[in-house]
């Protein structure tokens, strides 16, 4: 089983963000980066499939700045066998441009499966995986939280609103992985030391023209302090009134 996992380098969300003075982008100084959470679960899913099959390989592809080698090495420390960095210094907001660059890299790889995280926690677009599938002409199953591969067919459970759906699909295929499938493993010390010796290919990202650009960014408004309207049953009418007239949620 030959699996590719596409991962994204994203800022760690616990850090405080700031917007640059011209409002065009977030400030990079002081940020820390990691692999997108959903992509970690995708890596874990790939590693488990490989382990279960007892053979195969897991290849990681990342589009991002040169520093994203750190994230590829981490994936290797978890157990991925090799990696490719499609290098660009640009902040890319056009999902289709990213998908084209990834598809160009993946199309001749002969992968049985291409995995993505369901969504990147910074841009929240959840479009790249399906777009890559379309560009490669492969079936796509999104929001997978349970996965079983038998021979040339896969069986996946998908998350729906308040329900789940079971689908079957032929290989090769593109899947986007949801949480709930796996908690990702911690890279081991042995894995980190071995990662350094695994092949990591760096080449420029073939992004092409970008139709989407970010015009401006703003932080959400500060939340006002909470208000206690009263205590016990007496406070209920006032609370309901405020929820209707001020918060407008009822």
């Amino acid at each position: 089983m030959k699996i590719a996992v596409c991962i994204k380098r994203v800022p760690v969300m616990e850090v405080k963000f700031a917007i640059t003075a011209d409002g065009s982008r977030y400030e990079e100084t002081g940020l820390k980066y990691d692999i997108n959470d959903f992509d970690l679960w995708a890596i874990e899913a790939a590693l488990q499939l490989k382990e279960k099959a007892g053979a195969g390989s897991v290849h990681v592809v990342c589009l991002g700045p040169n520093a994203a080698q750190e994230q590829i090495r981490k994936a290797m420390a978890m157990g991925a066998d090799s990696g490719t960095l499609l290098e660009t210094d640009a902040r890319v907001y056009d999902g289709l441009a990213v998908a084209r660059a990834l598809a160009a890299e993946l199309k001749d790889g002969g992968y049985d499966l291409v995995l993505f995280g369901r969504v990147a926690i910074d841009s929240m677009n959840q479009m790249t995986g399906p777009m890559v599938a379309e560009l490669l002409g492969l079936p796509v199953v999104t929001n997978v939280f349970k996965l079983d591969i038998g021979g040339a067919t896969g069986r996946a459970e998908r998350v729906l609103e308040g329900a789940s759906e079971v689908v079957e699909f032929p290989l090769p295929a593109v899947l986007t992985i949801d949480d709930g499938l796996n908690k990702e493993r911690l890279p081991s010390l042995k894995g980190i030391m071995a990662a350094k010796k695994k092949p990591l290919d760096v080449k420029p990202a073939a992004l092409g023209e970008q139709a989407v650009v970010a015009r401006s960014m703003a932080l959400p408004p500060e939340r006002a302090a909470g208000r206690i309207v009263g205590e016990g049953a007496d406070a209920v009418p006032e609370l309901v009134r405020l929820l209707q007239t001020e918060a407008k949620v009822l």
Binding site: A77, L186, S188, G191, I192, M193
Partner: protein
């Protein structure tokens, strides 16, 4: 519930910016230990500590180890955590790749040690003892013993112990009585009873490799008649599996104030088969390799516990609303101000912070010196590093654990009544920290080692090296106003330390009780001076980075403020310590036993 986050920002600052850990990669055998690898290892080691070891700390304390007919069960979760720890390669982090280790510098293991001690001191004892057994065998074991035992210790499949103490022989190992009878096949039969053996029996590993101090039949009295033996719990088969049980049994485990998840065992050796490590009657040499490493590791326990205690006390002080600031309301929207507004609360927290960060810098410096001592191509550089490690070992063990206990206690006080109850976890840190002042040579013994052995060694060369390093940094600070103000108290402390050294050289030689009476104060004086010196180094780096517009300005600003606090509030201790040393032994030795 308490929380722990490994202080990776501070760790990286100390390793990279202050001490230049990258230069270790230039030492032979450390080519892999480039800064990016060191960072990745520490980041993932931190996660292991935060997510796997820390969640078992409170539950392990509540449950403790249990003893049943010679077997010992570790607290729930320890087995799974140990499996993950060992299979990940962490048991062999700095071990020789020839025996399956990861070959990273000792300095990296030092940092990991600190994080483990913060996360779960009891758990850290098991791999810690194995590492000690590894070190002793590595330096003094025969090739055959190394081949048989080291791969298993490195992989973590087998654990290790050090069996020194007997019921009547604690600090005074010279009077121990465990016997070793030679046999025809070159092995020995070991008989005797050992107490206080950490990790002596447990359920984490398939086999346990005991390193045991014992006497040969014709051995001279005292420490010059002690030999070291490897005594496995199960005798290894030819293909390296645990075979027939050896004559070692666990008689009981101790019920202790702290480190309850660490099994402290009575071990009975009854005609057990053992193999000599090193030469007859020179067993203390092998054991000292283990003990010196263990003393540094115990110092890290003081630091690690102080760190986790600080984090939880700080979180509480920021959240706990109680009373108003003396200078007027600071939190008008709340019913009261956070207690962090109060000078006394701030002072307590800053004492801990100033100790932790300064001690971290000193410890990592020593960690890197150990690697230099082992690997540097230049003999003179190796010797200098060895001198400084020998000098600093008792200081790190005793000063870090004395201050570590004091700091966990300050942290407890910050939480008031909530510090005294179990829920918040801080009282456990106080209890766990207490043992570190006692085991691995009590802190009084460390002080005697410093004053009686390390100071006179090589005509005082060790301490002179230290003095000149401190003086060089004090002198270099004259080029910057901020640094000069920080260097002044360091220079004064150094002057006091030199004066105290003179006092000891003059009076201690004539009357050993004078040295004994001054030893602890002298060790503390050196500890405060050494950490103050590290603060001066950190301040220099912080100033330079600020001037260059590099790094996190808030972090670097806090560094400088903490350095200033250390000089203003901790360094004055050195004056009192010198006064105590100068007061001499007279008032201590004057009362007759009946007058106590």
């Amino acid at each position: 519930m308490p929380t722990y986050r490994a202080p990776l920002d501070d760790i990286r600052f100390v390793l990279h910016d202050v001490h230049g850990v990258g230069k270790l990669a230039e030492l032979p055998g450390f080519e892999e230990a480039t800064p990016d690898v060191v960072d990745a290892v520490l980041a993932e080691g931190a996660k292991l500590c935060e997510e796997v070891l820390f969640p078992l700390n409170q539950s392990g304390d509540a449950e403790g180890c249990t003893y049943d007919h010679g077997t010992v069960r570790t607290p729930a979760g320890f087995i799974d955590a140990y499996r993950q720890y060992a299979s990940g390669g962490w048991t062999g982090i700095s071990a020789d790749p020839a025996f399956g280790g990861q070959g990273l510098p000792e300095a990296v293991r030092f940092v990991f040690e600190e994080m483990q001690c913060s996360a779960n001191l009891s758990f850290s004892m098991y791999p810690g003892l194995s590492h000690g057994a590894y070190s002793a065998l590595m330096s003094h074991g025969s090739e055959e013993l190394k081949a048989r035992y080291l791969p298993k210790l490195v992989s973590g499949e087998w654990g290790g112990t050090m069996c020194l103490t007997e019921a009547h022989a604690g600090t005074d190992l010279g009077i121990l009585t465990t016997r070793a009878e030679p046999t025809a096949d070159g092995s020995y039969r070991i008989t005797g009873s050992k107490i206080f053996i950490s990790a002596g029996e447990h359920d984490l590993t398939d086999n346990i490799v005991h390193l045991v101090l014992a006497r040969l039949p014709d051995a001279p009295a005292g420490t010059k008649g002690i030999s070291t033996f490897v005594v496995p719990k199960f005798l290894p088969t030819e293909d390296g599996r645990p075979g027939a049980p050896n004559g070692v049994s666990c008689g009981s485990i101790e019920h202790k104030m702290g480190i309850k998840g660490s099994a402290t065992c009575v071990l009975n050796f009854d005609n057990a088969i053992g193999y000599m490590v090193g030469e007859p009657n020179k067993g203390m040499r092998a054991m000292f390799v283990m003990m010196n490493g263990a003393r540094l590791a115990v110092g890290m326990q003081g630091l690690g516990l102080s760190e986790v205690a600080y984090q939880n006390a700080l979180a509480y002080a920021k959240e706990r609303l109680q009373g108003r600031a003396l200078t007027g309301t600071k939190n008008p929207d709340g019913p009261a101000d956070p207690i962090l507004v109060h000078p006394d609360v701030r002072k307590g927290l800053l004492r801990i912070k100033a100790f932790n960060e300064g001690a971290r810098a000193l410890a990592y410096w020593v960690g890197m010196l150990i690697d230099t001592e082992h690997r540097h191509p230049d003999e003179a550089v190796r010797q200098e590093a060895a001198d400084l490690v020998a000098l600093m070992t008792p200081v790190i063990k005793a000063f870090f654990t004395d201050l570590g206990f004091e700091c966990t206690n300050i942290a407890l006080q910050t939480l008031g009544g909530h510090g005294y109850i179990r829920e918040y976890g801080v009282e456990q840190y106080v209890r766990d920290a207490r043992i570190a002042q006692i085991y691995e040579g009590t802190n009084a013994v460390q002080a005697l080692d410093l004053v009686g052995r390390k100071l006179p060694m090589e005509g005082g060369r060790l301490v002179r090296r230290f003095f000149s390093l401190v003086k060089a940094d004090v002198d270099a600070a004259a080029d910057d106003d901020v640094l000069e103000a920080l260097a002044k108290p360091v220079g004064e402390a150094l002057g006091r330390l030199q004066k105290a050294t003179m006092v000891l050289a003059e009076k201690g030689f004539a009357n050993p009780d004078e040295a004994g009476a001054a030893a602890t104060e002298y060790l503390h004086l050196m500890g405060y001076t050494a950490i103050g010196w590290q603060w001066l180094k950190m301040a220099r780096v912080a100033q330079a980075r600020r001037a260059a517009g590099e790094g996190d300005a808030a972090f670097l600003g806090a560094k400088l403020k903490t350095a200033q606090f250390y000089m203003a509030r901790l360094m004055p201790q050195t004056a009192a310590l010198l006064a105590q040393i100068q007061a001499g032994a007279g008032t201590i030795m004057a009362p007759a036993p009946s007058e106590f």
